[in-house]
Symmetry: C4
Subunit: 365 residues, 4 copies
């Protein structure tokens, strides 16, 4: 698969969000509900985006940009920009090339893609095609033996880190999906989970407490178990509380991702960017700190970095581009965000990532 | 009356509020104005709901959920979840089964229904059918002898507590009702008040001060009178001020319900959830503290508990479900709210009701 | 002119603001622009109303209402309620009965009407018909001799106070009026100003500074001049600054009216209710303090009193009722506001005007 | 070119913003995107305007206006009012008379026009026609020799100050322009830059860092270079940070213009009026301080002056008037703003520019 030139993208796509209506046209209503929707009333999904606009910037002028760069190091990797691709499940539902396109674009644009446990293609096939290191997203499953085998498969395929999702012991209240009658289409499944000993499916509106699912939900003990199982770096994704961040470091995590699961888990959770500052104060550089949720523009990346993140991940933006244009769309999103970040850094007088701090924020509007 | 299985509910009803448009279709415009409307401009009615969204949550991860539970004790009763059915008048106007359906659903879902003084069916008949303890809502009427007899009837029928409404010495300014020409339909009346010596009906736009109604409005003295009349637990419903809460406890109240009458009494009153915190600080566990007003989601229950309530009551949500689907609708609302509360507790790391406190609130958005 | 019974009002008029669409139907577009519009973008006009909703109330329960009353004393007069009719010009443009209807209704409902210098009927004729004391609103005109004669005529006609407007040395930027091509219709004029030596009319978009109008604008000196001219009580209307309030008292004013001229003078001025508190703190009861601007409901009256006003005036609400229904409409507005104020007092536990203070405000929403 | 009388303007144009729809009708969609649009999502462009409404005013009464005036001195010039015309490029795209009309109107209304480096007419021709002193806006170009020659040409043509734009080392992300397919129409060009040695054109979505453009972006060194090159007063336009303001003074700047480039450079930058106060505190009168961004009304001018600006510049307002009505439109805008400023000063009790301070601001709404 060769990446077509970015010129193939119509000029009407000026911004990352311009892919959203294009994706909607190309998806079934149910798939749209799955990718675009969030939990509950979707307050958190909207708030993730809206919260960035409450952080106005203070431009600074006349800085030397002759050696300016967005390059950054993260867990031993050298990235073109501090912008990664978040794990998203079932990408073949968005585009026939699915995760292959995503991984291809990440390689072309010199960044990391995080492959979901629920990817719709084989994790080893993906790694075989990748031109850049990949990370693997992991749900610690009730079937611990299967989970251990899955970790081993990821290691063997050459994945360079594990991103353990900790904010979804059960699926969120996905009202939009339910109203749309969402179900996985034929031919799309979590191929990497084949053979796993699952729990019986829960009926609609099922209670959680007292069920095998609640009993098997991963706890801090599970992190310790995983830590003993692998030498790969472990990042915990879905940390929203400073105390949990402290505990994650104590449990041996190599990185923390502040996230509310894109508003797909607990509706009512604060915006990810609003959850970040107290956690950044607690982590204080002890381990890499990332965030995702609501990043749509280079200025959003800048704000996240100003509030203490070392890098961000984007999810829906690249999925919509994938649906609209395949791999070249995903690459375009990465390119746009980087170009926007560069200009935002130039206009706030930040010649490199280390120069970005809270002094560029002008106080709430 | 047997409760049909919840599967009878269409899948498009994903959330409690999905019953609202269904109810509107099934009700007369006047009945809709009565149940859906509030006082004045309905600022308080809307604000009750909106205020919850100003309390974003802070998720917490990886807690042990193996013994998690929503069970709670309240005035000697053991409830499946801290979610009760608020008193609502004239329920036969919403559905032919009226209060019977409501009481039936409360029993099936293992919680308390509070029966209104203005119920459209006989209080003793209701109690005879109930499979779970009921509470009785009381307006202390100008006709004290009738009021005393009513209390006696409730006691004899087996009601387990009295919920005395204190925030409605006169009916609120119900502009929507007036514009819609609301009047009780033929065949629906407050059957439990038959024979009461009433005051002459007030003309439209009547003044209040200087009238018999103002002279007869219940005061703290009336609470003392009632306290001397019965050994049932007394809860005062409609407390909105910390000083009043203190006084209620001094007057022998066994429980306090923070409420603004669902926005039906004083338009302009603060949202119930905003009235709660200073009262919780004052009550400080001396008696059970409940709240109602604007609760539509499990996350709203969680927030109310975080701010000091021991339980909440819901009103319109179950009335709309009653109108749309009868008893099974009411049961469904209780089930949805409990399922949502469980997930919200799981995602904020609260394995039981006692674990819920202000630390799960992330600060104003 | 006999006041018809309030029953003549259609039941669809539940609130004061229900008269607004009725008035609009009955007025020319130009007259509507004049009465309904404000200065500039009309931010202040809207803000006057909106600001009340930012002052949520804290209900209080179970107070003794047997002797409750809204009666209040103001500059020697005993009023049914602390709600007066603000001066509004050219009322015959709203209804054929013009100011006669307004004064008639004020008498019937036992309150004070303030007659405008720019009334469209003779000030003495009005006073001759009045059944209750009237106040006279005065613009101190460049023609001081005429102004003195006007004051003498008001005294002789029996007006009981002078309300001197101090916030309009020139007419506000009335963009809506200009766009609508507003001009006084034939037969309507400021009859009480006949014979005054006026300034030459200013062309559109005229500058103010350096003109005779600017040179003749009233200053604090003019207040001293007026103070020496009459023994009637003088209220200054349009005070928005605590320093000006202090100076008004020093200049011998007998009362102060906090006002931004209903948003018709300086667009961008803070809401009248937001201007009130620091002025109330400064005046501290030294003279009666009134306010106008945005009062549409009894709860708005209550809030103004809680923040230190002794009474309020309403303008547009009664003008719209006048346009829609004549004198009975004006009377209805006064009655509605009083009935609403009574209920609001009852529900916040205030049995009389003196009991209303800031403790009934729950803090900003 | 003689200025027609202002009476030629239709009465429906009551406010400066009334020109906006008229301009839109007269412009091509692409030209509209260029002049009306901003960078990115245009949050800053909207926020520039919206922020003024968050600064409510406190009227003051009864001040002596007999000698009131808006006259002000600025860098040796005596202006009718503290309202200048901001530099805007390619004005012949808005109206055939282009910059000639603008300069003509500025002269007629006795204020300064700032001519853009990217003007669509010759800078010397403009100066030859001007009846009032002009200022010249300068981008310090990568071609320093050309830049020096350009400065010399401006000096020789009699321009009285240089306004150096410092907030646009690269063009902002102009999404609206890109979506509209904007390109300069045939016959319109930056005539004053003919012969300049330019950089190769960047492809769409080009990165900035590492390019010749980044390497050549002006720095504080460039200000020193310019300072050594000319004796004209130098104002730095686009200062948004108090530290930068301090540095500008240290670098020999004779004036500072707080600006975010009308929201055309960094989307997400705080509103210009919100950026002003800390800079005013730092500058503290050391050099003249101006601002632009969002000024649409005389009350906006007043607020900017209250927060420390000595004068403001307007951009889009006069461009829209130019498009709609040519020179007379531009003159009308200047006249409207001055008339509105006079009234706003009168109603806040400020008889001259020096009297305007923060005491007229009533605190946030």
């Amino acid at each position: 698969m060769t990446l077509p030139p970015l010129d193939a993208i119509p000029a009407s796509v000026a911004a990352v969000t311009d892919y959203e209506p294009l994706a909607r046209e190309r998806m079934s209503a149910a798939a749209w509900a799955y990718f675009a929707g969030g939990a509950g009333d979707e307050w958190t999904r909207r708030e993730n985006v809206a919260a960035f606009d409450r952080l106005p910037l203070r431009p600074r002028a006349l800085r030397d940009l002759s050696t300016a760069t967005t390059r950054t190091r993260l867990l031993g990797l050298d990235l073109a920009a501090p912008i990664l691709l978040a794990p998203v499940a079932f990408q073949r539902m968005a585009h026939g090339d699915g995760e292959y396109a995503t991984v291809h674009a990440a390689g072309a644009l010199d960044t990391v893609a995080v492959v979901s446990t629920q990817a719709s293609v084989d994790l080893a096939d993906l790694a075989g095609l990748a031109t850049r290191p990949l990370w693997f997203q992991l749900y610690i499953q009730p079937d611990r033996a299967f989970t251990a085998a899955l970790v081993r498969r990821a290691e063997e395929a050459g994945y360079r880190a594990l991103v353990v999702t900790v904010d979804a012991p059960a699926t969120g209240m996905r009202w939009r999906e339910q109203r749309a009658g969402f179900a996985l289409p034929a031919g799309i499944e979590a191929v990497n989970l084949r053979g796993m000993r699952g729990l019986p499916p829960a009926p609609r509106d099922a209670l959680l407490f007292g069920t095998p699912l609640a009993a098997a939900a991963p706890t801090w003990e599970a992190i310790g178990w995983l830590r003993g199982l692998t030498r790969l770096p472990i990042l915990l994704k879905g940390i929203a509380d400073a105390g949990d961040a402290r505990r994650a470091i104590d449990a041996g995590a190599d990185g923390i991702i502040v996230s509310n699961h894109g508003g797909r888990s607990l509706d009512g959770a604060a915006a990810a960017i609003d959850l970040l500052p107290p956690i950044a104060d607690t982590v204080a550089g002890a381990v890499p700190l990332l965030m995702d949720g609501g990043v749509r523009r280079g200025t959003d990346v800048l704000r996240a970095l100003a509030l203490g993140a070392g890098a961000v991940l984007v999810g829906r933006p690249y999925i919509f581009a994938l649906a609209a244009a395949g791999a070249v769309g995903v690459a375009h999103v990465l390119r746009l965000l980087r170009a926007e970040l560069e200009l935002a850094m130039a206009l706030t007088g930040c010649p490199d990532i280390a120069a970005i701090d809270r002094s560029i924020l002008a106080g709430r509007a």
